[in-house]
Amino acid sequence: MYPEYMEESLRKVVQTRAARLELARKSVPVYPPMNAEERRRVLEDFHPDYKPDALRPVRVGPNKGEKLTTEVADLLESHSWLRSEQVNLDKPDFETDLLIIGGGGAGCNAALIAMQQHGIRSLIATKLRMGDANTMMSQGGMQAAVSRTDSPTKHYLDAIGGGHFENKPELVKALTEDGPGVVKWLEDLGVVWDKEEDGSIQVLHGGGTSRKRMVSCRDYTGAMIMRTLMDEVRNHPDMITIKEFMPAVELIMDDEGRCAGAVLYSMDSEEFFTVKAKSTLIATGGYGRLHIRGFDTTNHYGATGDGLVMAYRAGAKLMYMDSVQYHPTGASFPEQIAGFLITEKIRGAGGQPLNKDGELFVFPREPRDIEASAIIRECVQNGGGIETPSGRLGVWLDSPLIDMLHGEGYVAHQFPAMYRQYIRYGIDINKLPMLIYPSLHYQNGGVEINERCETNIPGLYVAGEATGGLHGRNRLMGNSVLDYNVFGRRAGKSAGAYAKTVKLGKLSLAHLDNYEKELANSGVQTNLVAPILLPSYAPKDVRKRQLVRGGNVLPGASVVHNRLQEERSDA
């Protein structure tokens, strides 16, 4: 239940509801959408990326001198777990055609396509269990131009405009033209899409869409897709080997500058294993657990940006690593679910963001960065926010409107996960609005790829959230579920083809020594060892007593801790 002091504000929401419902029934926007100039202003004044200390130049590596998100620059200027002389590369522990790092949506798609199209064997090494991934969590849905009024080129224009015209065009073309095929591929694997009576796929609006284009599986879209893909992967044990709790910590190269596999770390036994692979795919997803600028996150436990740092040390170029996506609607109350995602589909279905006086202050379906900035503005500048008992801010997201618009039972059927999340705390979202604030959600940038998922390193492929370029500096809802399907499949296709032709040279970890030297030469001083693998949520006093684990900076020792935040506050 909401605390008593919020009741007055809740009453105002009820008072304004009838008029807002009227408005929502008309075919005009309930609030005027911003023009280009208004968008620019709200971003510059209120988006966290635009704060003065949000970015800093990175001092080493392929993007040296470029301004990146500060926490990302910290992550890249870190030590490896390994020194080259510690690892014997003469007899790899495992050999495979295709090594897939990350058992989320992109990784599973790639393994299946490499097998189907090229008869290629793969090894999936993943950090936690298969499917412990952002892919499992997407609720809202996936964009794909499947309806009669839509077309892939309309989708293209929406995606490019949402990304502020900075997206790599060939990637957006690949994304949008493969969309309908992905819907069919998944359906044939057994994904149960929401449908209309006549069998056509149900489509809804999302932020920044000019056509209804969001396809979904109730609000368990990601879970449905992830479980279907995993199930199919597991149906081919002879072709696809799975190693769980075995994250990669470094890439292995050959003496001709090709990527040739990776070093894995067993979380149980703390052993390191070498994998020799003809081609390697990084499908490690995003970085929400870095808690950039102290924000809560919607991301899964293992989202620590590992792929970025591994690829960077090997010489891969990053793109748009100065841009972070804050989801406009993370939960702000109750405290236990702070930062949890409230799917954008709630606004797609008619839910409206309101200030403490129950008034609209923004068009509910602006692109994400605009919507998030407008919510921050409303709280920080206009004083329209409501403060929670623990000192968080939030605005209302009026969910009871939805059943009024679509008929009783709509929320229960379409948003069972949302309903469940709140009813545990005595909040019935059919009767009461939710209190929300932006939450750290998505890694807009990443390793630069082309439409075949190739990087500037031969033999190294990247797909999914770990990549940069596709979304420009702002991804639209539904385009990343499509992303990991489209580019996971494309990666399987091109990495599979490459694996058939390449002859690897002598394996090497010399790039790690070179990177260490570069750190020293650039005067970087840091205790951070990365990849981070898992964040630590132990309270500070506990961490102080964890002498070895918490404070250890020796490569190869048991540092499963995210020291990032403290490093920064001590510095």
Binding site: T153, K173, P180, I201, G294, Q336, V380, A417, H561
Partner: protein
């Protein structure tokens, strides 16, 4: 957290548990795998385990109620009942004694979905244990998602694949039902098969989907793509802001 500039990040700290002990309000005692710890009264089980200083490796995945990695068994003081919950979603209570069950041994059947049909014999072949159900209802009682698990098992016995799909849609495969089932049935695994069978065979086909896929293959959109991709930023921007909306 010095990097936070006032008024922008929503939280003074990165997690509810991160404030340190001094910030915590009321503390209660819980027994994590038998050992007593003082934890905040308002914490989730997952938050409490982390507050106690454990680094969870198994037993946490999504942290938001979707992945089923965090299945937990617990008892409350003076109560004989074994209770079940997701650690990321369940609040602690004073005197609670708990253990996480991050993995429930179970064998997934291997199949070629193209060779199965959406009927009772698919269930019989792949998950024959389903027919051992004694209708005791324990699975339904133990489901943290509140699903009618026994009903979907019964539907599977009848070969009603659509009902299994519908009733098991929100299953997070935490495994708690199969852990408690006296007949040793692997409900969530069977349910994944049933959902795939429904999606593959029982769906109503979308007429326009096939047409759209074909149109893309035939290059119907190539000319328009070429035009858009050749446009400069200005022209593209103009086109974007002038586009009509549904």
């Amino acid at each position: 957290m010095t990097s936070v500039s006032a008024g922008i990040a929503n939280s003074p700290t990165t997690s509810a548990a991160d404030g340190g002990r001094e910030a915590a309000e009321r503390l209660i005692t819980v027994y994590i795998m038998g050992k007593a710890y003082e934890v905040p009264a308002e914490a989730t089980i997952m938050g409490a385990i982390e507050y106690a200083g454990h680094q969870i490796i198994r037993g946490a995945g999504c942290r938001e109620g979707y992945c089923g990695a965090c299945a937990t068994l617990y008892r409350l003081p003076g109560d004989y009942k074994i209770r079940t919950g997701l650690a990321c979603m369940t609040l602690v209570e004073d005197g609670m004694t708990l253990a996480q069950i991050p993995s429930v041994p179970a064998e997934k059947a291997i199949y070629d979905i193209e060779k199965l049909r959406p009927n009772v014999s698919a269930i019989q072949q792949m998950y024959p244990t389903v027919f051992r159900c004694v209708a005791c209802g324990t699975c339904t009682k133990s489901c943290p998602q509140g699903l009618q698990v026994m009903d979907y098992v019964q539907a599977a016995k009848r070969g009603d694949i659509a009902a299994v799909m519908d009733l098991s849609f929100d299953c997070v495969v935490c495994g708690l039902c199969m852990l408690r089932c006296p007949a040793e049935i692997t409900q969530p695994l069977m349910a994944i098969l049933a959902k795939r069978l429904y999606g593959r065979y029982l769906r109503k086909d979308s007429p326009e989907l096939a047409e759209r896929v074909k149109a893309v293959e035939e290059g119907v959109y190539e000319a328009e793509y070429a035009e858009l991709m050749a446009m400069g930023r200005e022209a593209l921007s103009e086109r974007y802001y002038a586009r009509d909306s549904e």
